[in-house]
């Protein structure tokens, strides 16, 4: 528990530094209109966390199908719920950036298409979970669905970019780009760490919540109040 507490304090300090640093410590990156480059400290970590969360959810789903241990299903759901949240955040921030640099909030750039499909897949995943009554079926089906969905992801990576060319600035804004100065890099890397930390903290919260809920449900039925 003490470890937990220190981690939380470290995370708070880190996140506050990222928040202040991103607005006060760094300079604007060259080649971007106005202050718009600062969105990179939020948009990129959010997108990274979303991808990580969905991948983790997939891994937990496979482990669940292998071991049939309810805890892995809980981890898979919590992880995909958080992934969904960060995916929406990444979409909103990306869309703001798109308005500033490309001129419109939404123009079906391959990145925008793929993030929307991700949201649709996980929207369907939650719809499936809420529609199946049997607990065991629910867990199996959602794990199977997320595996099937994962199998279609390579097609997006290879097909969608071929239809149109992406305008996404992942080449110019790459952290390996020597044009970006030290301050920019420092805040950017710390932002990645901070967002990842926040994700794992939220994951453990959600996971413990689900475990308590499960315990509560079990108590409820065994007492048979009326």
């Amino acid at each position: 528990m003490i470890r937990h507490k220190t981690l939380k304090i470290v995370l708070t300090i880190l996140m506050s530094f990222v928040l202040f640093g991103s607005f006060l410590y760094t300079r604007n990156a060259a080649g971007f209109p106005g202050e718009s480059s600062r969105i990179m400290f939020f948009h990129v970590p959010q997108a990274w966390v979303a991808v990580m969360a969905f991948s983790l959810s997939m891994v937990f789903s496979v482990i669940y199908l292998k071991k049939r241990d309810v805890r892995y299903d809980m981890l898979a759901v919590s992880s995909s719920e958080l992934g969904f949240l960060f995916c929406i955040l990444a979409m909103l921030t990306g869309s703001m950036f798109a308005r500033l640099t490309w001129g419109s909030f939404w123009n079906w750039d391959p990145r925008e298409t793929s993030i929307l499909i991700l949201l649709m897949i996980y929207g369907a995943y939650f719809a499936l979970r809420s529609a199946v009554n049997d607990q065991d079926d629910k867990r199996k089906f959602s794990a199977v669905y997320s595996l099937l969905a994962f199998a279609t992801v390579p097609f997006f990576i290879f097909i969608v970019p071929r239809i149109t060319i992406s305008l996404h600035p992942s080449d110019t804004m790459n952290p390996m780009n020597p044009q970006l100065d030290f301050r920019f890099m420092l805040v950017f890397i710390l932002a990645l760490v901070a967002f990842t930390g926040i994700f794992f903290w939220m994951l453990s919260l959600k996971y413990r919540w689900l475990q308590l809920e499960e315990k509560f449900n079990r108590m409820d039925t065994s007492w048979d109040l009326d």
């Binding site: 199908l65 499909i117 649709m120 897949i121 929207g123 369907a124 719809a127 499936l128 529609a131 199946v132 009554n133 049997d134 079926d137 199996k140 089906f141 794990a143 199977v144 669905y145 595996l147 099937l148 969905a149 199998a151 279609t152 390579p154 097609f155 997006f156 097909i159 969608v160 071929r162 239809i163």
Partner: protein, 225 residues
């Protein structure tokens, strides 16, 4: 060999049942014809400018096919559950056979739908097909790919509370990459320009292989109790 024989037996049984009730076929074909007529009435052959025609027509064609398919294919496992024959099927054969048989049946339905709708569509919209062989291959592999995915989804929703809506919601994200490819390829086949690489057909085949193999692994998990 007995594996394929059993799958074909299941296909035969499903066709026989379908001929008795005509439930799925009626739903699919009526849906398809209604949308087809609405579309052709409102954008008769010359409403759209010449250069825009191929991609608009390709998109419309696949919208008609996919949504009418979704309206009927969801029934393939629901009808077993409603007739209380699900457990019998579970006892009499292995899960992979069930998947293959049901997929064959769905493919048959889809190909039949395409056989009826596509010629009428081409006629009503006055489309001159530049590369007929390319279109036929796309329709064939598109039908197989769609039914491979929707069979998995149909098996899952058979045990859910809301069925029809959920089926489309679950199928659409999974089939999206295939649909984009099919529309792109169909647009190409409507045009006169030469087709150099068979990109779309290759993607469709790859999709069928990936989904087919994965489904054979995952279907037993859904099917077994």
């Amino acid at each position: 060999m007995s594996y394929l024989n059993e799958s074909f037996a299941l296909l035969k049984k499903d066709i026989k049942c379908e001929l008795r009730t005509r439930f799925a076929a009626n739903a699919i074909f009526l849906f398809a014809f209604t949308t087809l007529i609405v579309i052709s009435y409102s954008i008769a052959p010359y409403r759209i400018d010449e250069p825009h025609r191929p991609f608009i027509y390709a998109t419309l064609l696949w919208i008609i096919l996919v949504f009418s398919a979704f309206s009927g294919l969801s029934r393939s496992f629901v009808k077993e559950a409603e007739a209380y024959t699900e457990d019998l099927l579970r006892l009499s054969t292995q899960p992979e056979v069930v998947y293959t048989g049901k997929m064959l049946f769905n493919t048959t339905l889809l190909l039949l739908l395409e056989l009826l709708i596509v010629p009428v569509f081409l006629l009503l919209m006055n489309i001159r097909v530049g590369h007929a062989h390319y279109l036929i291959l796309l329709l064939l592999f598109g039908g197989v790919g769609l039914s491979a995915t929707t069979t998995m989804v149909a098996a899952m929703i058979a045990r859910a509370r809301v069925k029809g809506v959920l089926f489309s919601a679950l199928s659409f994200p999974l089939t999206f990459p295939l649909l984009i490819t099919l529309i792109k390829g169909t647009e190409k086949s409507f045009m006169e320009a030469d087709i150099v690489h068979w990109d779309e057909v290759r993607v469709a085949v790859a999709y069928i292989i990936v989904i087919g193999v994965l489904s054979l692994f995952l279907f037993p998990i859904i099917w077994r109790d």
